[in-house]
Amino acid sequence: MSVIKAVNLVKIYSGGAVPVPAVRGVDLQVEPGEFVAIMGPSGSGKSTLVHMLGGLDARTSGEIWLDDKRVDTLSESAWALLRRKKIGFVFQFFNLVANMTVADNVELPALLAGASPREARERRQNLLGALNLSERADAAPGQLSGGEQQRVALARALANQPSVLLADEPTGNLDSRNTRDVLRLLTEVHKDGQTIIMVTHDARVAALADRLVSLFDGAIVDDGRIARRRTGTAGEVIDLR
C-alpha cells in the first residue's frame, strides 16, 4: 500500500501563447513513512508536481492515488475536504492567513481536520516550541520575518498530522540556525512515521530524506535511495573525503 501514487502524470499549462509542458509523464509511488526529496533545476516542474499531488493544481492527464483511493477525478470541494484531513502543504511562497495570529494559523488546520480545541492547542504549542516561535504566537504573519513565516507555514502544515506532508522549499528563507530547528523537527516527525515529500535546493535538508527524485525538464531522470554510510568523529568522516 502506498500513501501517494502518481501514474503517468502530465501538466501542460495552456493559458499563454504557447502551451508549456511543465510535467511530462511522471510515475511516482511513495510508501508510508518514506521521506522523499525532490530536486532539480529551476523550471524543471517541481512545484507543479507537488501542487498536483496536493490537488492544488489540476492535472492535464494521468492518475493520482492517495491512500489507495483515486483522487485526480475528485471535484474541487471533495479535494478541499480531503486536504484538510490528509495533506499538509508548505508553499514555496508561504501563504498564511494575514488577519489571524500565528497561533490561530497553526491551530486552524487541526480544528478543520477534527481535532478538539485542546488537542489543537497542544499540538500548536509543541510545533511552535520546536521551531523556536513560541514568543511570536500572538503576532500577525505580516509582523514576522520571511524565515519566521516559513517556519509558521511548516508548523501549520503539520498541525493536522497529515497522511503526507508536501513541502515546496520549506527552508528557502532560513538562516543556518533556523534551518537547524527545521531539520530537527523534520527528523523528529519523520522518525514518528510522517510521510514527507519535499522539494528543496538545500542539500542539508535533502540529505535527511530516504530517497531522492531528480526532475529535469518535467521528467524524473533519477530515483534512488540516499545511502546512510559510516559514522565517526569529524576528523574521521571529513578526512576520509
Binding site: 540529505a207 530524506a209 531522492l212 540516499i226 545511502a227
Partner: protein, 168 residues
C-alpha cells in the same frame, strides 16, 4: 593520466601524438597541455600492465608508428574508474574528468554520472548531518569543520546542477 588515456582509447585506437591532441581538444584549457614524453611513458606502463596493446603500423618513407588499443582488461579498469564514486579535492577533480570523458567511453552517459554523484554527495551530507547532531556545542572547531564541509558539498551540488543544465 592513466584512466584518461584509457578513456580516449575506448573511443578509438590511437598513437601517442593523437592522444595528446585529443586531450587538448577535449579539455581545452581545462587540462594542462600534456607532455608527449609523459604520454609515451604512461602508455608503456599501461602496456606492461596489459591494459593496452600496441600494433606497429607501417608508414611510407617514415619509421613505423605504434597504434595503441584497449584490451578487455583495460576496459574493465576503465569501467571501475568511471563507476566508483569519486572522492577527493574539487575543481578539476576525478569526477570532472569522468564527466568530460564519459561520452567517449560508452560506459555511462553524463546524466547517469551526474545523478549517481548527486546521490553520493547527499549521502556524504547525511553523514555530516548526523555528525553535526552528535557533536557537542563546546567542540567549536569541529563544528566549523563540519559546516565548512557542508558548504563545500552544497556548492558541489549546485555545480552538478549547472553541469546538468549545460551538458545533458
Amino acid at each position: 593520466m592513466r584512466p584518461h588515456l584509457l578513456a580516449l582509447l575506448a573511443k578509438e585506437p590511437a598513437h601517442g601524438y593523437e592522444l595528446k591532441q585529443a586531450l587538448e581538444q577535449t579539455f581545452g584549457s581545462a587540462y594542462p597541455s600534456p607532455n608527449i614524453g609523459q604520454i609515451y611513458v604512461t602508455l608503456g606502463r599501461l602496456e606492461k600492465d596489459g591494459l593496452v596493446r600496441a600494433v606497429d603500423v607501417e608508414q611510407s618513407n617514415r619509421p613505423n608508428k605504434k597504434v595503441y588499443y584497449l584490451t578487455a582488461k583495460g576496459r574493465e579498469s576503465l569501467t571501475t574508474w568511471v563507476e566508483e564514486p569519486t572522492e577527493g579535492p574539487r575543481v578539476r577533480d576525478e569526477f570532472f574528468m569522468k564527466l568530460v570523458l564519459a561520452p567517449l567511453t560508452g560506459i555511462a552517459d553524463r546524466m547517469a554520472l551526474i545523478n549517481r554523484q548527486r546521490r553520493h554527495y547527499l549521502s556524504l551530507m547525511s553523514d555530516l548531518n548526523d555528525l553535526l547532531a552528535r557533536t557537542p556545542a563546546a567542540d567549536r572547531v569541529a563544528l566549523l569543520l563540519i559546516e565548512g564541509a557542508m558548504l563545500h558539498l552544497q556548492a558541489d551540488l549546485e555545480w552538478l546542477e549547472r553541469c546538468q543544465e549545460d551538458l545533458a
